[in-house]
């Protein structure tokens, strides 16, 4: 083990500091964790000094324990050359397997000769021993056994064209005769070309198989993504796919009744049963769901606009007329009131159109909604202004009335005061204070008011 030749320069971390070779039976110190070959550190402790050679810390034999299995594996798996390299063995193997090789396999290991030759030990390929070739019945040295088998003229061989189908088998010395007659030999050149082509085709085949594998996996990914998209899109997925197919003729015919119907302006509501008409109401694809109006309103819209609507609140009637016809949404659909408007925009989702169509429809409904909200706000603003003006007028009139009343009361009070104070002897007071004097005019006035005769109030 100590005299092995390593194939590659070993990692410096696996080299024992004492012998400067990869660890053999590595051991680690418990005290300072340095690692050495077992033999090296034992010799150092016995022959040199009881301390670690690296850091000189005290070290006893008991502190030495086998190194980590990973270190042992690392050094055991280093590639080494066979110890019999000098004898001619070129075998290399992992260090841990070399013992088995030398013991069992190496042809250059010296062993006792069992064949009675004079030498005590020699190679297993004994040059002193001869074997008898069964084919040609001549004797050759054992060491030349392999060499002889490749050149013996009597040994049975097969035609070199056996891989291509030649069944010939015979002695080697007959081979030249066969070769000259072998039909496969005649097309030897073809075989060479054929083999090259076959190899190229095999390569191409492998390449194509690989490509197919790649494509299949890509297809699976694409299918999976498609499935994800399908589940994410929900009902619209199928619609958008069916829309790529040319639309059937059923759709336009379904559209016919509504357009024909709504275009008739003079039809009266009583002529049509609304409940009958409503479920059949088709949806034109070019319209978004928002532009779709419930039939009741369409009917209504088809009527000529009437100045008086029973639904209109009486307070708003007077002011709504001047501005409503100027609104865009109003001119489009003739939906006059806020309550009607709300019914219009909440149309059911149209699942029969594409996702884009639905989105467009939703967007339109939102825009209509915002417009109607805007007009509603303006209308309520005007109503509020009107109401405020009216209230202001009422307040003003009340204020005038109050003022008149106040003036009258004031006049009455002045009259009373004049009667009580100025013309006292004319009127007998019903009650005199104990001191015989009136303390001040104000309680006097109160007293007078309390005792005012009921007929004076009627003067108001």
């Amino acid at each position: 083990m100590n005299s092995l030749t390593y194939v590659d320069p070993p990692n410096q971390n696996l080299v024992c500091c004492i012998c400067r070779m990869p660890f053999v039976d590595p051991c680690t110190n418990k005290t300072c964790s340095h690692t050495f070959c077992r033999e090296c550190i034992v010799q150092s402790l016995i022959r040199h000094s009881p301390q670690c050679p690296i850091d000189r810390s005290p070290l006893r034999m008991e502190d030495i324990c086998p190194a980590d299995p990973i270190v042992r594996s690392l050094v055991d798996e280093l590639l080494v050359k066979c110890s019999n390299e000098s004898a001619g063995c070129s075998y290399t193997c992992q260090r841990q397997l070399l013992d088995v090789h030398i013991k069992n396999d190496c042809l250059y290991t010296l062993v006792p000769c069992k064949d009675g030759c004079s030498q005590e030990t020699h190679n297993s390929n004994c040059t002193g021993k001869y074997f008898k070739c069964e084919a040609c019945e001549t004797e050759h040295p054992c060491s030349a056994r392999v060499e002889h088998a490749s050149c013996c003229y009597a040994v049975r061989v097969r035609c070199p064209h056996e891989p291509h189908g030649c069944p010939w088998e015979g002695r080697r010395k007959d081979l030249p005769t066969h070769t000259s007659a072998c039909p496969y030999e005649a097309i030897k050149g073809f075989f060479a070309i054929h083999d090259i082509q076959k190899a190229a085709l095999n390569d191409e085949n492998t390449l194509l198989k690989h490509k197919i594998d790649t494509l299949e996996s890509q297809l699976r990914i694409a299918q999976f993504e498609l499935h994800c998209a399908e589940s994410a899109l929900g009902p619209w997925f199928r619609n958008s796919r069916s829309r790529s197919i040319p639309p059937s003729s059923q759709l336009p015919t379904q559209l016919q009744p509504s357009s024909a119907f709504t275009s008739r302006p003079s039809i009266s509501p009583t002529d049509v049963s609304i409940t009958q008409y409503f479920p059949d109401m088709p949806v034109n694809d070019s319209y978004g769901p928002a532009s779709y109006a419930p039939p009741e309103d369409e009917l209504w819209a088809s009527l000529p606009p009437a100045p008086e609507r029973p639904e209109l609140p009486s307070s708003m009637q007077s002011m709504s007329h001047p501005w409503i016809p100027n609104q865009n949404w109003q001119s489009n659909s003739y939906l006059p009131t806020g309550t009607r408007l709300n019914q219009n925009v909440v149309a059911p989702l149209n699942l029969n159109t594409t996702l884009e169509g639905t989105m467009e429809g939703l967007r339109e409904s939102i825009s209509v909604l915002s417009t109607s909200l805007d007009s509603l706000g303006r209308r309520s603003d005007i109503a509020l202004t009107n109401e405020t003006l009216r209230l202001n007028e009422e307040v003003m009139s009340l204020r005038v009335t109050m003022h008149g009343l106040r003036m009258q009361v004031h006049t009455i009070m002045m009259d009373r005061n004049a009667q009580v104070t100025g013309h006292g002897p004319g009127i007998e007071p019903l009650f005199m204070p104990p001191d015989g004097q009136w303390p001040s005019p104000i309680p006097n006035r109160l007293y007078a008011m309390q005792n005012a005769p009921p007929n004076s109030i009627t003067k108001l």
Binding site: C40, H48, I54
Partner: protein, 159 residues
């Protein structure tokens, strides 16, 4: 052990030839694995300007467990440096070359992990740090009784 000694020395020799010696140290001869010669020169400012000394290493079969026998060559016109730790016969007082166990904190005696180049560098720095050129005090007495191999001599430990 013979194999370990020679393989270890072969490895050191290969490293010296591949990587070269440190500055001021040169390999003179290493024909076998028993005796190597080096020249050693103190670089920079020192008491030994332009002086070149020759070191002799002798290895036994126990190397590197046992220390090499190191001494300055004093034959053929070569001389040992005048130094308090160098006898005039070329022997050295250096703990690094002592194979005896002393207290672990007292000295840097030989360790199997040291190498020939490491010893050279240590001696180079020993010369470089010299304050006064003089022989050891017991020089004359030692020379009279000194053995041929410095490892067999008994040095005072604290010299």
């Amino acid at each position: 052990m013979a194999s370990i000694s020679s393989r270890r020395l072969a490895k050191e020799l290969m490293e010296i030839k591949n990587d070269g010696c440190p500055v001021g140290i040169d390999l003179v001869k290493a024909d076998d694995f028993s005796t190597w010669w080096f020249t050693i020169e103190v670089m920079g400012e020192s008491l030994y300007p332009n002086e070149k000394f020759t070191l002799q290493f002798r290895f036994d079969q126990q190397y590197p467990i046992s220390s090499p026998a190191v001494q300055f060559v004093v034959t053929d016109g070569r001389e040992a440096p005048v130094h308090p730790h160098v006898y005039s016969n070329g022997h050295l007082i250096a703990l690094i070359l002592s194979c005896r166990y002393v207290h672990p904190f007292l000295g840097n005696e030989w360790s199997p992990v040291l190498s020939v180049v490491a010893v050279c560098v240590t001696l180079q720095s020993m010369l470089a740090s010299c304050k006064e050129k003089q022989r050891p005090v017991d020089n004359d007495r030692y020379i009279k009784h000194a053995p041929e191999n410095p490892k067999k001599a008994s040095f005072p430990l604290n010299a």
